[in-house]
Amino acid sequence: MTHTGLATDRLSLAYGDRIVIRDLTLQVPERRVTSILGPNGCGKSTLLKALARLIVPTGGEVKLSGQALGAIDTRVLARQLAILPQSPRAPDGITVADLVRRGRTPWRGFLAPWSEDDGRICAQALEQVGLQEMVDRPIDELSGGQRQRAWIALVLAQDTPYLLLDEPTTWLDLAHQLEVLSLLRQRNRDHGTTVVAVLHDLNLAARFSDHLILLGADGLVASGAPDEVVTEDRLRQAFGLEALVVSDPVTGRPLVVPR
């Protein structure tokens, strides 16, 4: 095992009484975009939550820079790693600016006032998601795509080297899915942020990720570069799907065409 970055060591996870992940050991590549893929109920979201310490493993552990996640101080961890859960619900009437400002929470002292740095980082986050013109708008008045970008701005404002997202593209149309994923990729390229996202769409995942983690009903099927992971054999193994994998004419990445 290396001692850098985010990794799992013989990790076992249960959801209630049902064990969904057993003895999983893997390394999330540093400063890359990683997607977690797999059929419904395979434990994708559960794995992501464990990586962010939102659930406690039943066995093994998650490590960040060689240190067990459970041993890291809550606030210290929140400065290292941000997580955006699936379909978060905004408080009634909250504005974009107010939402994004709350991303600064782990960086602010108990009674410390709002600092210039806080303001600058929030402004930068809003600009990266392209909402700088909408700061005073209530979240409920935004379109689905804009709303999702506002939530992403919140975790960008948290300013962490690790960014975890649970199905950030759910409920969005294709254009907005592309927009959100390009934005995450841009963040990775500009800041070296390690991005880990649970995604549903194999083709989008293959297109935007440097690394894929493919889970099946019985745990890890494959992990590696998109063209190593997205193969006809492995899709059959993970999804029970008969598909043709061709080369995406636009990006050269693997493209799944179900038979």
Partner: protein
Amino acid sequence: MKSSSLVLPLLLLGAVLLSLMIGQVVLSPLQLWTGLWSGTGPGALTLRVLRGPATFTAAGAGAVLGAAGTIFQILLRNPLAAPDVMGFMSGAGLAVVAGVAFGISLPLPLLSAAGGLTAAVAVALLSVRRGPVMQSSLTLILVGIGVSFLASAASSFLITRMPPQEAADAQRWLVGSLAARSWQHAAQVWGLGALMLLVLALQVRALKVLELGDELAAGLGLRPGRARNGLIGTGVLLAAAGVAVAGPVPFVAMMAGPLGMRIAKVTAPGARLCAAAMTGAVVTILADVVARSIVPGVQLPVGVMTGIMGAPYLLWLLSKEAEAGEL
């Protein structure tokens, strides 16, 4: 500063003035002013003995109840979640009645705090479900309504065993009453209220993160369980401070938050809490003014008036929630 943020302070000032002026004898502001500075005449008597203490007790009790209600409404994301609906105030009332019935000579705030906290723990324990399913806020509210009925019934039972005069007083107090309040009551609720509001002020930042949901809150470095328990404790103690001086006045805690939020046009938790405290004070003072002047020569308990105001609001809220599919 937006003009909408001035509405509530002005309303509060107006309500206080109205409450000091109106009663069996109507006084002019000039008479009150003279009484305040000279210490003699009808103005002075009204200010110092008759209406002053009741008005300031009403303001303090309304403020703590309003803030308490808003804490639960934000935490549970449901306008129905308030200490009056969820049994914390009935629990506090029961503890006070039991204290009187069994001759326990503890200070009322202590008794009501113990009763309120016990009710809160009971609601939490009774709502626990097995398995990974998170308890919904609706479950908590429904269990709370049950606990509320239970506590009220127990209070009524204890009252039947008291001597007639004591029973009548206790019955009146249980409706929510500001009759015969002294400056001691006012000082008590303002003192305890100020202390708890200070504690609450330190918890507002946690509340702002907590209202984004537990997972985001945890990701932002908060321990959601611990923060929530702290806020619940503050909310219950605030409500208990109100109950100790005014009895379990219904609906103020539930109405003040949503009403204040609309009047002041605010959405952030800190501003909502301030608006709710001021609105709670206004509502309680005005309800008391109406309660003591609507039937000449009779002072109705303030709780009767807040009940009359609150019941239609509750019905409207329920129909709205049912339409939105939240019930």
